[in-house]
Symmetry: C2
Subunit: 116 residues, 2 copies
Amino acid sequence: MRNKVRSAFEVCPIEVGVAVAGGDWKLTIVSKLVAGPLRFGRLQREAGPVSAKTLTRQLRALEDDGILIRTVYPEVPPHVTYELTESGAALAEIAEELGDWSERYIRPVYDREDAG
Amino acid sequence: MRNKVRSAFEVCPIEVGVAVAGGDWKLTIVSKLVAGPLRFGRLQREAGPVSAKTLTRQLRALEDDGILIRTVYPEVPPHVTYELTESGAALAEIAEELGDWSERYIRPVYDREDAG
DNA sequence: CGGTATCCTGTACGATACTG
DNA sequence: CAGTATCGTACAGGATACCG
């Protein structure tokens, strides 16, 4: 994943953004964290049908790239929260725009196919 | 690819956007077309180290989703151009924002790693 | 609760060779 | 020029079982 980002740097900044934020679930995760920190289980339920394995992978990648912060509370049972950094909040705005864009331009395309 | 988009509709609009625009090279392709239509070969050179096979795939997907228009001029040798639709132009703006975001927030992360 | 380990399938993508 | 066909590798991501 990091290697992908590194080679993207030699192409263009947009491709870097795609490498960092383009994975499945990543932008959805970020958007779910705008309202405030969430715990792992809650985040998994809110994000959609994502497996624990994949969610963990994506969260770790987002953490490595400085998009969110993982906090472990030393309790039993375990308690872990995820919250956005400034970088993550900025990314969340782009995620929202992408969502609006797909509602406006993509949904009609597929609705038309379903009708026809 | 279309199946991925269809299932994304059942999750959230952001995930639809990722499914449609999140593939490697797609946003870069779109950004290269903002200045005006380009031919296949030119686009391939401008986009970066993308193979003809992948570029073709991505262009077809973008066409299917109404993001760009492919025009074939019946000449010898063949002449094909790609140009953005309104949808594509709107997506290009988001692509630019993502590029700016990565320059501002991601580059420092990796520069710091390279230094350390 | 918040993961990890293992296995598995599907697909993305590049390289190369070829074509109308 | 603008692709297509074929092959091969890499990795994403789900399912399941298990752990501190």
